[in-house]
């Protein structure tokens, strides 16, 4: 049997985006995967099936996506960093339990390698059509953290970040790739253990009296310490609104308090959650704001356009949700036009428009039938507005 | 089980007066009360635990008599 052992490798490797997710997750300490295969995300499951048993971790192929989502939540409660991966239609099936994970505050990462929808759509073509599904695919208002890599290297980096954020905020995190990034092979540099910052969930103090343990304790940072199953706390968890003890009481005050805490634990810490890169010069009149695979064309276009003295800059979101409202508002105050290329009919542009609130013109470039947006298209629009 | 074991309303407040215990008592120790079951005649109790084991509300407990 030819097996690949996960161990420090030569640092420069040719890696597929989907495999980079596997490498990133393992580097961040993930020990559990459960899921159900689907194009174009199956390589992630396959990668974990290969790698996890080698480090004593567990790979579980479940009967469907719903079960896969349930199993990773269970594994996380049992103390393991856990991840699942799917694509649009399967992501829809995971939503109910994703909401449950938010409610009971379980760290877990959900990867969605997007393909063109609606429905079965074009299973092997790229899309960014699940940006809004990520934010709103469930009942209720709850926030979610979502990151979107634009390269194989970023797939590796942001997977590590996703795991860390989920651990830090006791919160499910979604990683949005798309078919192009998932299947792209690029040369990337893997990091050594020392180079990687890892965050592990806060646990109850070891001297914590188990009788007084509050699994949803109100702490200063609004993030309750989390006890592994089997560590003696014998605590209760429920998808009903619950008080600090974890028990539902049916009271509206309790629900209100919890809704607010869930919201604030993220919104008090946006600086730790929202990542973006930008290159905007003080005299740029237009900016191309993008994320994921669309960012590749965006940056490429701006780089060439600048050689031709066009006054354009770029802004690349790595964190999609919560949306970088402030930074984008600032951007809108600076430039006249923001161009938002997306592989959908215009999803995140809605947030950009809201943040811009009329201060800058916001124009979308949309490809929603499986083609990448090409630099020429963005260039043409840039020339038009500049 | 030691002779002299007898039923006790260990958690009387929890009783919902469903009557199941009454129906399984071989010696008619228990009877319906206004809000909860009552012990009619403790002396008849043979400590068989039928009632304790079936009570859905954890009300009853068979204890040695001196605990009662």
């Amino acid at each position: 049997m030819k097996t690949k052992i996960f161990k420090p490798k030569k640092s420069a490797v040719l890696t597929q985006g989907n495999q980079a997710v596997v490498e990133g997750a393992l580097a961040a300490g993930v020990e559990f995967f459960a899921g159900y295969p689907i194009t174009p995300a199956s390589e992630i499951a396959e990668g974990f099936a290969r790698e996890l048993p080698q480090i004593g971790g567990k790979f579980l192929q479940m009967e469907d996506e719903i079960a896969g989502m349930a199993a990773v939540i269970g594994a996380s409660l049992a103390g393991k960093k856990a991840i699942t991966a799917t694509s649009g239609p399967g992501f829809a099936l995971k939503q109910e339990n994703l909401g449950f994970a938010t409610m009971i505050e379980v760290p877990v990462v959900v990867v969605n390698v997007q393909r063109v929808g609606p429905s079965t759509g074009l299973p092997t073509a790229p899309s960014q059509g699940d940006v809004m599904q990520t934010r709103w695919g469930r009942n209720g208002d709850q926030e979610i953290i979502a990151l979107a890599p634009s390269s194989v290297a970023e797939s590796y980096e942001l997977t590590i970040k996703a795991v860390n954020l989920s651990e830090k905020f006791r919160q499910p995190v979604v990683l949005l790739l798309d078919e192009v990034i998932g299947h792209l092979r690029e040369k990337i540099h893997l990091k050594s253990k020392e180079e990687i910052e890892i965050y592990n969930r806060k646990k109850p103090e070891s001297n914590q009296n188990s009788d007084q343990f509050l699994p949803y304790q109100l702490t200063d940072d609004l993030i309750p310490p989390m006890a592994d199953y089997g560590s003696g706390f014998k605590y209760h968890t429920s998808g009903l609104f619950h008080d600090q003890s974890g028990f539902p009481d049916g009271k509206k005050e309790t629900a209100k308090f919890m809704q607010d805490r869930l919201h604030n634990k993220l919104h008090n810490n946006l600086d730790q959650i929202i990542f973006y890169e930008k290159n905007i010069r003080s005299d740029d009149n237009a900016a191309v704001l993008s994320y994921g695979s669309a960012a590749r064309a965006a940056i490429s276009t701006v780089n060439t356009a600048r050689k031709d003295n066009l006054k354009a800059g770029w802004f690349k979101l790595q964190t999609i949700w919560p949306f970088a409202e402030e930074a984008v508002a600032e951007l809108a105050a600076q430039v006249d036009t923001i161009i938002v290329p997306e592989l959908n009919q215009g999803q995140l542009i809605r947030e950009v428009k809201k943040a811009a609130a009329g201060r800058a013109k916001v124009i979308g470039i949309n490809s929603y039938a499986g083609d990448l947006i090409r630099p020429e298209e963005i260039r043409a629009l840039l020339e038009e507005v500049l | 089980m030691a002779r002299g074991d007898r039923v006790k309303l260990e958690n009387a407040d929890w009783c919902k007066n469903c009557g199941i215990c009454i129906s399984v008592c071989p010696t008619n120790v228990l009877i319906k009360g206004r809000d909860r079951v009552k012990i009619d005649d403790l002396e008849k109790c043979i400590g068989c635990q039928n009632c304790e084991l079936i009570c859905p509300d954890f009300v009853l407990k068979v204890v040695t008599q001196d605990e009662n």
């Binding site: 479940m62 199993a71 409660l77 | 129906s23």
Partner: protein, 274 residues
Amino acid sequence: MDFEKYLRIDKLPHIWCPGCGHGTILNSFIRAFAESGLDQDKTVVISGIGCSGRATGYLNFDTLHTTHGRAIAFAAGVKMANPGLNVVVMTGDGDGSAIGGNHLIHAARRNIDLTVILFNNQIYGMTGGQFSPMTPTGDQATTAPYGNIDQNFDLAKLVEGAGGGFIARGATHDPRQLKKIYLAALKHKGFSFVESFSQCPVSYGRQNKAGDAVEMLKKQQEDTVSFKKWQELSFEEKQGKYPLGILKEVENPESEYTESYQKIIKKLKKEEAF
């Protein structure tokens, strides 16, 4: 019985209706658990949504009240992540055999070491009496006002068909047997399934004019017979009768899922060592 040890006393009395069989199931379960010698701190109880789903709120273990129908899938994740934990699932007939039917059969197929206790009151209790896959044909339900035309599952057969290794059926009218079965199920290495007949005097009983809990228990007793006796019955006599007891027990701890996985890990470690 030391209730304080296994129950969350401060949460009692529970919300179940007077005479609801679910309480008797809990009662039998904690006795079985006490006798099992298993480590309470290393035991996780997981439930879905329904009246039965509320069971976890009263049990003094690590407990998880999940989404409707998915308890077994959560449990599989817990068990795989830490095979050192004892994992018990408490589910309703709707939770476990309607929306959750698929997870049930797949867990049975994989032979993963879970103890699944299905509270079968033959109705969706929590939502007010719609028929479930366990409601007998002809019965009344709020969604079967002219009598249920669905055939009900024989869950023991279903789980056996799925490959389950430990299959049993108990009933609240006989808590002694119920306890014994739970004990055996807890001790069984591999997937174990216990269908537990429970009476729902409110959501099932009222519409079916089944009387109060006491009458329902009497009926339950009439409709059931020990597995041993049942085997001696003629085909005709078996109709409408359900055997109680351990219906199947295959000792094959070798094929238990987490063990099989562990073997792969061990094998790879050895390969690496070379």
